[in-house]
Amino acid sequence: MIQTRSKKNAWLAFLAVLAFLTLIFVLDQVIKPTDRLGMLLIVLQKGAVYALAAVSMNLLNGYTGLFSLGHAGFMLLGAYTYAIFTIPDKSRDAVYQYYDAAVRFSIPEQLSRHMGGFGTALGILIALILAGAVAALLAWLIGLPVLRLKSDYLAIATLGFAEIIRALFQWSKLGPITNGSNLLKNFARASKFKLEIAGAKLSLSTFVPVLIATVSIALIVLIVNSTYGRAFKAIRDDEIAAEAMGINLAKHKMIAFVTSSFFAGVAGATLAMVLSIAQANNFKSAMTYEILLMVVLGGIGSITGSVIGSFLFVAASEWWLRGLDSGKFLGIEAPNIFRNGFRLVVFSVIIMIVVLFFRQGIMGEKELPDLFRKKKKTPVKEAES
């Protein structure tokens, strides 16, 4: 009986995700980027990327209880890997204008030569997975020494790593690979993604990032609900008990760290895809804090919380509060107060209020479906007789 119920729920969740993706696809066709609602597309794109980043951070910080602040570093690795391997051959020299490009291999281009449009899509998918793999590999190397550290020390070590990576990628000696402190561009980017069916060109610029994020988050959900996810939670709740019950701490912490970093790498690649540029300078530790903020706002230990937190954060900072920077907000014109930077002031106040009133974040440790489920109370029977 338990089985049938969870099966039904899985189908419901699957259908809901399918409906959501269909909606995104339709919005992608209906709304033009130049429309008044064009901002919605940008929010959806960036929101999806940050949702994936936040969920992958939640897997580590929320589910396994390892407080790591290296997320921006892993996203940077993902973004650069993706960018470097998808720059078309003909624009490579223009991108690397001061250096002699070392990597002269565009995966989507090579594959499209043999398989056409399908090859391009496959190439982009491979580049995405490669982006995750590079981040995961680095995570493994760093994890060997760093995962022995606990709480704050781990946070400081990973934060330091992220800063080192950023500095390294801007180093001119690595210019042939990373283009130094110049940005990478002209690689496969979301705004160019189109699907041609019977002569009609369908835009995929929002659909593809959302699809990547959805599939990745679904994978994380599957991991969290598996026996490994339960082991992660056991480590978070009580490490000593977890070890005494046969859970290999070093191994499971490493699995969580590497998996989280893999998806951070994919998120970084998708961010590059959405922004059309990749530049090390964008991946400052402030980005890690932003993602951490989304996780905390949504609720540490809740995946739907992280997703909701990310979309709200992106929508508020990119769209709803924009007017506070440009003189007109909610119909009030006050160019002297609503100037550059005022948005951040209001935003900070809002965040403080949210944190004050939702100590556990918006969702706490609950997931969205939990809210629809009726809470049945079975009183705990005291030991009697």
Binding site: I2, T227, A241, A244, L249, I255, T378
Partner: protein, 284 residues
Amino acid sequence: MTEQKKILSVEHVTMQFGGVVAVNDLSMEVREGEIVAIIGPNGAGKTTAFNVITGVYAPTNGRVYFDGDCVVENHPHGKMKKSYLGEYADLYKQVKEPTPDQLTKLGMARTFQNIRLWKSMTVFDNILVAKHLKRSSNLFSAAFRFNRAEEENNRREVLELLKIVGLEELKDELATSLPYGKQRRLEIARALATHPKLLLLDEPAAGMNPQETQELTQFIGQIRKDFDVSIVLIEHHMDLVMDISDRIYVLDFGRLIAQGVPEEIRANEKVIDAYLGVVDDAEN
């Protein structure tokens, strides 16, 4: 008692922290199917002995055999070589320091003095996690649910176990919302879920009233029969100890001061001096 196979054998174990010798030359053994108690005043080194046996601490010197194999071995080396205060410093040569999870995989399971259940999980999940160590899946096969048969089997086993320990109705409650006595019971059940050959209980009756203690005594006896395990327990409730133990070891200031069947211990002068006190006070 007939000569049975030894499940656990501790040889000359000394545990020294800095200049403090918490356990001094402890040798003890547990035969298959036995219930053995370790008693002694507070600070005698009982829990430290547990921690050495289960791999939480590596001993300074000594050896532990489990199920016929040497699983833990150490001798004073490095910095400890000079400051070692115990005996038999040259007896052992190897260094074997397994982590607790490795010993649990070999068939040792324990509970804790201060209950250590996983707070955010339900009663059911607390036990289900203990099944993780016997998994045949890796991250990928688990994420894509290729281990479905194993999972279902585990869930069935957990339900059965909950039935046996009498927590079936509470399976969807948060572990921490249970009354104290049931939390203890759950912790024992969680240890049993790893299919141990040896169960180590650290003060299972701590904080229980006489009636709960009575129930626990029965419960421990029932476990030995149903699960075919040997049990080592640390306990201060003398009723319980005298009632169910086959043999008793008494520690004082890290040293073994007596061992034997309950009657011998009750009559032992040294034990009365160090721990039990005058017979009338033994209840507390």
